[in-house]
Structures are given as structure tokens and as C-alpha cells.
């Protein structure tokens, strides 16, 4: 029997039990859908982080607690728990002044912010009065906070565009007061739209943040390198400045590229882990295929006997059942991919999710492999049936 005929026969056999065929391929559909969707979402997160860093420019450096080895996701102990002192910030400011334009500590907290009846859960970022230059802030209304306000721990805030829309319906909210932890903070500036992180953010003097949010600390330091200065030279100088107060393993100075490499290496591990977990459902789907194919072989024993009596070779029978199994898994793979694509398309308004080509080949390749691996045993079992015994089967 020619292979085209074998395909047609397999297709018509599957068509005779549409519901069963669909339920059998459900495991593969879910498996491929999970793999593709999870990979596309992680890719979306990766794209989002890259976009955020690109907005800052290549000459922005970040100082993080703990030792981070670029590209090694097993390092970076202390990033979550560690912190800096104000002395560290001033050491950079003084000792590396020839290399840098500005430096700011960052104190981050998440709080419910309210204005009248409206409440918004936002990230509050305590930074210094010079940080506008580092983060390239562009004010729509009002002004940025001053050194004086920073020194006085003033409760003043600059709000992002989305937050201004949500709490103040997009009007000029300068002079209005919003509430954080039942304390009033005056809006002194509103930012132009920039990116989601900034648009949903609230920026205030870091001194205020340290004072008003108990337990908060300087979790990172951002540095803007002077134009014309080699970024690596600036990194060396910042390193030297920080060593005045800290040990070498208590901090890491990362360039935008380092940062992205580190984050990407972590995200890659997450991608592999998630894809592996999702791959388990593909494996389970494969067991489902094998189970149903075995049932099918038993149910169609007489048909196998008849086909052999009419001239089918064992190879013909094996190919027929094998192709049925592979068709189930490949069709399931395509359906799963299609649903994965739909979800990726739907979440694109929130995050720049994207299905990498390799994940398409990986999931489809894996689903073909599942069909072959789990279809082999039932196919061999079918092909080995003795025609006389098969025809007599009750």
C-alpha cells in the first residue's frame, strides 16, 4: 500500500471516531498549548525588561547588593535581602564624580494610594532630586522635587500618566493630595507617558520613603555615566568608591548589558523549567494516545485479520497504526499551537509576548516524537497479529 493510501486510511479511521480522536489528542493539545504559551509569556517578560532598560540608555549603571556574576543565574545572593547605606551613595557621588553625571538611591515600596473614593495599588519609588536626569523624566504638569524637599523628607510626589488617569481622570492634578498609609502627599508633578512601569509609578524623595515606610531600605543605586566616558572605566571607579564602605562581595555594579544578560539567563532557566513542566502533560498525552491505540488495536482485531487476508503486510498494518498515532499527536500539536498563538495575541496589549520560532519547532517536534514513541508499541502489536487468530477474534 502506498504511503498516501496509508495516510488516507489512517485519516478515515480517525474520522470514524471523531470524539474519541479529539479526546485522545487533548493531552497533546494541552501540552503544546502550555509549552508555547508559557514560553511566549516568559519571552514577553524578557522583552518588557529589555524595553525598560533600553529606555534608560546604555550609559546607566546599576549597583545591586550581593555578588552577581553575569550570565550565572546561581549567583546574586543578597539581591532580595541586602541593601545600601546613604554613605555608599555619597561615596559614589564624591569619589567617582569625574565619571558620572548623577547618582540616585532607590527605595521601593508597594502601597494602596487613594484619592477621594478611588484607590490604586502602585509602586512607590523613593529616589533623589537628581534622578530625573537618570530616568529621562519628561514632565507633563508641574515640577520635580527639590534638594530642599529631599532634605526635609517632604511628602511630595510626582505621579505617572496612568496613575494620574486612574485617580485624577487625567486632569492636571498638581496641588492635589493623595493618601498613602493615611498620610497626605502633595502631587507636585505629572509625567508624560513613557512606559508601563513609569506610567503606573509614584516617585518621591528617597528620604521620605525611608522615613515613612518602616523597614524600607536602599535596595539599589542607579548611576548615569558622563557622555564620552567609557562605561567600563566608570564601573571600575564606582567599584573603588564602594569599596570604601563595602566588601567586594557585598555589591555588584552592572551595566545595562550585564543586567540584561543576567536577567535573560535567569529567564532562560525559568523558560526551561516551565517548558519541562508543561512537557509532562505532553508525556501524559502520549500515554493517552498509547492507551487509546491499544484499545483500537483490540477493537479492530478482525479488521487487521481481514486486511492481512486481503494482502496487507505486517508493515502495512504497522504503518497504518503508527500514522494514526502520529496524526493524533501532530494534529493535537497544531491545535495547541493555534490556541497558544491566540493567547499570545490576546495578551499582547498587556505584555509584548511572542512565540519564538524555536518553540514552535520544539513543541511540534516533540508532539511528533510523542506520536512515534507512544504509537510504536500498539502498532507493533497490531502488525504481529496472526491473520487466522485475528479473524476468529470475538
Amino acid at each position: 500500500m502506498r504511503i498516501v493510501e496509508t495516510f488516507k486510511t489512517a485519516l478515515s479511521s480517525l474520522g470514524l471516531n471523531k470524539v474519541r480522536s479529539f479526546l485522545t489528542m487533548l493531552g497533546v493539545i494541552i501540552g503544546v498549548f502550555s509549552v508555547v504559551t508559557l514560553i511566549s509569556l516568559v519571552k514577553g517578560v524578557q522583552n518588557y525588561i529589555e524595553d525598560q532598560f533600553k529606555l534608560l540608555g546604555a550609559n546607566t549603571l546599576f549597583v545591586l547588593p550581593g555578588k552577581v556574576q553575569v550570565g550565572n543565574p546561581n549567583t546574586g545572593h543578597g539581591i532580595l535581602g541586602g541593601g545600601f547605606e546613604e554613605k555608599d551613595v555619597s561615596n559614589i557621588e564624591i569619589l567617582a564624580k569625574d565619571y558620572i553625571d548623577a547618582v540616585t538611591p532607590a527605595v521601593v515600596a508597594t502601597r494602596d494610594i487613594s484619592y477621594k473614593t478611588k484607590t490604586y495599588n502602585a509602586s512607590l519609588e523613593g529616589i533623589n532630586f537628581k534622578s530625573g536626569a537618570i530616568f529621562n523624566f519628561d514632565l507633563k504638569y508641574g515640577r520635580y522635587f527639590t534638594r530642599l524637599e529631599e532634605n526635609n523628607d517632604s511628602r511630595v510626589v510626582v505621579v505617572g500618566d496612568t496613575l494620574n488617569q486612574e485617580l485624577f481622570s487625567g486632569q492636571n492634578s498638581v496641588g492635589f493630595y493623595l493618601k498613602v498609609d493615611n498620610k497626605n502627599y502633595q502631587v507636585i508633578g505629572v509625567l508624560n507617558p513613557k512606559s508601563r512601569d513609569y506610567d503606573e509609578g509614584v516617585f518621591l524623595p528617597y528620604t521620605t520613603a525611608l522615613k515613612e515606610f518602616p523597614g524600607s531600605k536602599i535596595s539599589s543605586i542607579a548611576v548615569k555615566v558622563k557622555d564620552g566616558i567609557n562605561v567600563n572605566t566608570a564601573v571600575e571607579q564606582i567599584n573603588l568608591a564602594l569599596l570604601k564602605n563595602l566588601k567586594q562581595d557585598q555589591f555588584s555594579v552592572l551595566t545595562q548589558k550585564d543586567f540584561l544578560t543576567s536577567i535573560n539567563s535567569i529567564l532562560n532557566i525559568i523558560t526551561i523549567a516551565l517548558a519541562a513542566i508543561a512537557g509532562i502533560s505532553l508525556f501524559v498525552g502520549g500515554i493517552g494516545i498509547m492507551n487509546i491505540e491499544l484499545v483500537s488495536v483490540t477493537e479492530r482485531t478482525k479488521e487487521i485479520g481481514l486486511r492481512k487476508a486481503l494482502g496487507a503486510t505486517s508493515r502495512n498494518i504497522r504503518n497504518q497504526f503508527m500514522i494514526e498515532a502520529v496524526m493524533i499527536s501532530v494534529t493535537g500539536g497544531f491545535i495547541g499551537l493555534f490556541f497558544g498563538w491566540i493567547v499570545t495575541f490576546l495578551v499582547r496589549s498587556l505584555i509584548r509576548a511572542q512565540i519564538p520560532l524555536w518553540s514552535v519547532f520544539l513543541s511540534l517536534g516533540f508532539s511528533i516524537l510523542v506520536g512515534i514513541v507512544f504509537g510504536t508499541y500498539p502498532a507493533i502489536k497490531a502488525s504481529q497479529k496472526d491473520p487466522i487468530e485475528a479473524l476468529r477474534y470475538e
Binding site: 500500500m1 502506498r2 493510501e5 486510511t9 478515515s12 470514524l16 478482525k302 479488521e303 485479520g305 481481514l306 486486511r307 492481512k308 487476508a309 486481503l310 494482502g311 496487507a312 503486510t313 505486517s314 508493515r315 502495512n316 491473520p387 487466522i388 479473524l391
Partner: protein, 229 residues
């Protein structure tokens, strides 16, 4: 006259572990072109075993089966399948049609397994279905047919590859007398057209329509009214 099928001293012994059962022993049969042969005998006489061996569904423990001058002894499973497909047409008591396939598709099935691609399979199947009087039922599913019609489809399927011999195992066993008679008549018509037919049955009425009768008992031929041929 050279027989189209020769069974020479064939034996079939089933090994059941401690015991061995001899189903057929030193049996010689020659089947000639145009023969209409019935193989009869009581249950356990070896009829089915003989049919399986001359139909190349089973291989003899001893002896050889020669079909159109080709000794089938030592043939591979693939070669035997090819010979079965080209030279032998089977008709079974239970019809064994693919229930949800159309009449036409059921008849086309053996052609799909032909070693050499067959052109215009649909036309050929239609022609054979006309021969058995089912030209109006081409697109019906086989589970929509009566028992007699199903057996006609099975006969058309057996004929479609123009085999040297048709082997029918109790072809009227599952039919009422009216349909049984129609099938008997069809076999007579086909034989009159020169088609070689072997019917395995314990039904004496059916056996009587054949021109030649072999009676088996305990795996041996006790009578063959056409041996002298």
C-alpha cells in the same frame, strides 16, 4: 492438465506443549482452472485448516503448496501477502466488511494492497459490483446492507483483483435460505464464467452445487470425486 493449485503431502501439526494435535496429515489436493470444488467434512475434520493453508494464511508443518507453478514454501511474510493479494480471493461466513466504509471502498480495499498500482480502481470496483448485481448500492455504507447484499460485496471484493482462485468459507452460513440460494446461484454463474471456486462447508446442499466434492475426515481425504481429472 496443470493444476493452478497443488497441495503436496501437506501436514499441519499444532504444538500444544505436552501434546501435539495433527489437524491434517499427508494430504494431496490438485485444483484446476475452472474447478468448482467443495470441501466438506464434520467439525474438526480439518476443512478450515486446509483452507487456511491453500489460502496461504497458514503454512504447512510439512509438505508444500504450489500456486501457479510457484512453490510457496519458504516464502517470506511479505511474499505470501503479495501472492494472497494477487492470486486468492477470500469470502468469509461473517462477510468481514469494514462497516462504516462504503460498498465501493470495501471492494477497492484489496487493490490498495496491490504491489503494482492499479489504475482506475473505482471503475474496476464498479464493474465487479455490477457483476454481483450491486451497482445501485455503490455509495451505501456496508452496515446499511442486508446479509445477502453484504455477502455479494464480499464476493465482489474477492473478485476485484482477478485472482486465480476464490476460497469461500461457509459463505451461506449466516444467511437465510432465500439469500443463501441467491449466493449459491451467484457462485454457479461465476464458475460458468470460468472462475475457479473452492467452498469449504459442512452444508450438504451448498456442497451439492459444486462440480467436485472432497470429503475430509480426521485430517485426511476420504473421497474426492474429481481426483481423476
Amino acid at each position: 492438465m496443470i493444476p493452478i493449485l497443488q497441495a503436496k503431502k501437506i501436514c499441519k501439526v499444532y504444538d500444544m506443549g505436552k501434546t501435539k494435535i495433527t489437524a491434517i496429515c499427508d494430504l494431496d489436493v490438485n485444483i484446476y482452472k475452472g474447478d468448482f470444488l467443495s470441501i466438506t467434512g464434520k467439525s474438526g475434520s480439518g476443512k478450515s485448516t486446509l483452507m487456511h493453508m491453500i489460502g496461504l494464511l497458514d503454512t504447512p508443518t510439512k509438505g508444500e503448496v504450489i500456486l501457479n507453478g510457484r512453490n510457496t514454501k519458504g516464502m517470506s511474510e511479505k511474499e505470501l501477502a503479495e501472492v494472497r493479494n494477487k492470486e486468492i480471493g477470500f469470502v468469509f461466513q461473517d462477510f468481514y466488511l469494514l462497516p462504516r466504509s462504503t460498498v465501493l471502498d470495501n471492494v477497492i480495499l484489496p487493490m490498495k494492497y496491490s504491489k503494482n498500482p492499479i489504475k482506475d480502481m473505482e471503475k474496476r470496483a464498479t464493474d465487479v459490483l455490477k457483476l454481483v448485481g450491486l451497482e445501485q448500492r455503490l455509495q451505501n455504507r456496508s452496515n446499511e446492507l442486508s446479509g445477502g447484499e453484504k455477502q455479494r460485496v464480499a464476493i465482489a471484493r474477492a473478485l476485484v483483483n482477478e485472482p486465480s482462485i476464490i476460497l469461500a468459507d461457509e459463505p451461506t452460513g449466516n444467511l437465510d435460505s432465500k439469500n443463501g440460494e441467491e449466493i449459491e446461484k451467484l457462485f454457479i454463474d461465476l464458475n460458468n464464467k470460468g472462475i475457479t471456486i473452492v467452498i469449504v462447508t459442512h452444508d450438504k446442499e451448498l456442497a451439492a452445487i459444486a462440480k467436485r466434492e472432497i470429503v475430509l475426515k480426521d485430517g485426511s481425504i476420504v473421497s474426492d470425486n474429481g481426483k481423476s481429472k
